[in-house]
Amino acid sequence: MRDPILKVRDLKVEFGTNDGPVYAVKGIDLDVMPGETVAIVGESGSGKSQTMMAIMGLLAGNGRADGSAQYRGKEIIGLSDRALNRIRGEKITMIFQEPMTSLDPLYKIGRQLSEPIIHHGKLKRSEVRPRIIELLKLVGLPDPERRIDAYPHELSGGQRQRVMIAMALANDPDILIADEPTTALDVTIQAQILELLADLQKRLGMAIVFITHDLGIVRRFADRVYVMQKGEVVETNDAEVLFTAPAHPYTQMLLAAEPTGTKAPPPPTAPVLLEGRDVAVTFRVGGGFLKGPAIDLKAVDRISLQLRQGQTIGIVGESGSGKSTLGRALLRLAPSKGAVRFQGKDISHADREAMRPLRHEMQLVFQDPFGSLSPRMTVGQIVTEGLLVHEPHLTRRERDARAIEALAEVGLDPLMRNRYPHEFSGGQRQRIAIARAMILKPKIVVLDEPTSALDRSVQKQIVDLLRDLQKAHDLAYLFISHDLAVVRAMADHIIVMKEGRIVEEGATAEIFDHPREAYTQALMAAAVDQTRFRRSA
């Protein structure tokens, strides 16, 4: 057996907080062989990112790393920044989750790429340009001669991630650490980036450490998998073995976390609750003094739909397809053209005052459980706020009773209602957001990517919760998501959107099994078929 290029022994990471030390990583061992792909899988809070941050010397100010990590036999834990800089950025490089924020918006991408190359003394500033173009070609960025002078905001998310990869490859690293490199991207782009990484590894022969919460992604992509839970490695094995015969219950749980089941459509006699006809939303972009004429951007382009009682319509599409805007337009939260009818009543011209009595019938749950709860209100206050508007006659005590009821219904301990949102995990926060919608006893709930920011196992719980609530109250859902696995489990009718238009619509089974349009097929292929990233050994 060859010597591992990176050898981690008994690595511990702890953070000093107001509540005493928190142990994020509790002594893990890890080996990376030259040229292999190692995946570290775990849910948020499992310490998978902190492990790599500790090795790279990038822990937050209150963090401390203990133990040993050797790169080619050289200890790197506890090295000074100066000594560490000779290794990181050159021999060990990293790409991050968020391509939107990991590039400095002030510099052209050519300049950003040249920094690490010049810094590590490979080339002089005057000679660096051909090398950068070569790198950009390598990562498959179209038209590299022109893009080298582009600013980050001129590139799409996928293109930025390619630039990040190019930057990481600039000094021919031995190890590339990829921290959730595809999580923030659309499924089709996600597939391309994974393919690119697999291809680059084949050509350049570096080792890749792939950190992710999604076991599905690493299925065929990784040689070996480490599964982390609460700061410890609970299982490690070759990928093939791990996926066919997971030993640890946590791994089994992660593998089984894909939401399952299907939803039967409501009876055709069910009353139509919400009807949109030719709904269109346009944003005016640019224009004004000295800026030339304004351009009307059609975010939603004449879409019609009918939502019946007990029905779930899944709206699927990539980011920028207008699916969230459509949801808001139907709730009269965004100005739109076309007709919207709620229980037969035309509300397309209703103003805020006219809408207020109807608001409690139509609720909204958001994607980001961190942004959708006001940080300065207690959970009790957040959940009962709607009651202040719609049932102002309730006393404080009655509102409190309703809060207890609502929190219990979404599976939270009602004793927690005096706490603040920042004390809860993502899944718990999403439950609070659902309780806030449910306390008003709505008929329609628009769910805007309610599971996208959550771990797989938590996703499954939220999906189950939403289905239970639907059954109990005969709710109608408008389920907006880019995650096809979740949509498949939740929706009985699917609308596929692209650039503000409906590409295809139909019953769930029909869309999944027999997609007619090329776009739908591409979407399905990218999401479902992950066997394409098989590496030739």
Binding site: S374, M377, V389, E423
Partner: protein, 376 residues
């Protein structure tokens, strides 16, 4: 650093804390901020109770002690009392022996060829320095005795000013007035600025444009010109000063709050409230304003010293507080005029103001660090 290190189980035994309590814990760990807070409280107490406890009223003029330097020595000095006592007794045509001064009484041995008449105490009482003169220890033959008189001796720890007023008491009054103006002006700026900025930012669009252009117009008015106008119209008064300062300082506050509001109103919790049909006022009150508080509190702690400085500037220019009432600014202005001959007139008020400003700025910095959500 997207991971939150809090599993479900940890939540159960950890005690509940709001963001405010968290910030308080962080603030307590900042030594400079804690010391500043203690200093400020001590100074505020001095400002409130000091003048009441001081033996000198702040507007009492001691004509005989003009520009007395700061010292622990009691006035009048022993060197001044002895000759005065001597010359007063001499008028009674008696022979003067040894003169001793202990605390508030002066004693002199006197003797004469004839029996001593106790009416000679009148000569002593006539002097400004002495009171309650009396004859004690009259000898049996009445030829020798002790002349005893009370001397009112005063201490001026910070000295006296050009009019003979106690600088210590005046400095304490100055602290009171300056802190009060700083707090009231900041409070006014806070209320006006937060409401105005939050409304403008939240309503947005044309309303925002009109409201903020109005702020821009006010910005372009020169502050001093504005104050002079106010003073000319309404006369000089204490209330006017903090209104004038509040009226100019709320502009910054309005801009800060408006900027905050613009980001907060795009937050999903605001949209969630809109989707629930909460009124605009309810959203402003429950969601927008509480969430702007972090930066606002920090700005206020930095605004208080600014207001104190502005008041000092106004008083320095003669537009501020009316004498005999005083403020630190006015005291410094007086001190600056007498800098060469009587440096204590400048030093003590200036040092006090500096300490207040230092403490407020340290506290403001500490608060900013404590409230910074990035630290979480």
């Amino acid at each position: 650093m997207t991971e939150t290190i809090s599993a479900h189980s940890e939540l159960d035994y950890r005690q509940s804390r709001s963001l405010g309590q968290d910030a308080w814990l962080r603030l307590r760990r900042n030594k400079a901020a804690v010391v500043s807070m203690i200093v400020l409280i001590a100074l505020a107490l001095t400002g409130i109770f000091g003048p009441m406890l001081s033996p000198h009223p702040y507007d009492r003029i001691y004509p005989q002690y003009v520009r007395a330097p700061a010292s622990f020595e009691a006035y009048p000095r022993a060197d001044d009392i002895t000759p005065a006592f001597e010359s007063a007794i001499e008028r009674g045509r008696v022979t003067i022996g040894e003169i001793t001064i202990e605390g508030q009484t002066a004693r002199a041995l006197i003797s004469n060829d004839e029996p001593i008449d106790d009416r000679i105490t009148r000569y002593v009482d006539r002097s400004d320095l002495f009171s309650n003169a009396r004859i004690e220890n009259l000898s049996a033959d009445g030829l020798s005795a002790e002349m005893v008189a009370d001397v009112q001796r005063l201490r001026f720890l910070f000295g006296t000013d050009a009019n003979g007023r106690d600088v210590l008491t005046r400095t304490m009054i100055g602290i009171r007035i300056s802190l009060a103006i700083g707090l009231l002006a900041s409070l006014m700026a806070l209320v006006l600025g937060v409401t105005y900025g939050a409304v403008a930012g939240y309503l947005g669009g044309r309303v925002d444009n009109v409201m903020m252009r109005f702020v821009d117009i006010l910005y372009s008015l020169p502050f001093i010109f504005f104050v002079i106008l106010l003073v000319v119209f309404f006369g000089r008064s204490f209330v006017l000063i903090f209104i004038a300062i509040g009226c100019t300082e709320w502009l910054d506050m309005a801009r800060i709050v408006r900027g905050q509001t613009l980001t907060i109103k795009r937050q999903e919790y605001v949209e969630a409230a809109q989707a629930m049909g909460v009124t605009s006022w309810g959203i402003l009150r429950r969601h927008v304003i509480p969430n702007t508080l972090g930066p606002v509190i920090v700005f206020v702690t930095l605004l208080v010293p600014k207001a104190i400085l502005l008041e000092s500037l106004l008083s320095f220019l003669g537009l501020g507080v009316q004498p005999p009432l005083t403020s630190l600014g006015l005291l410094i202005s007086d001190g600056a005029a007498n800098m060469r001959g009587a440096s204590w007139l400048l030093i003590y008020p200036a040092v006090t103001l500096t300490i207040i400003l230092f403490a407020l700025n340290f506290l403001g910095d500490g608060l900013r660090d404590a409230l910074d959500p990035k630290d979480r």
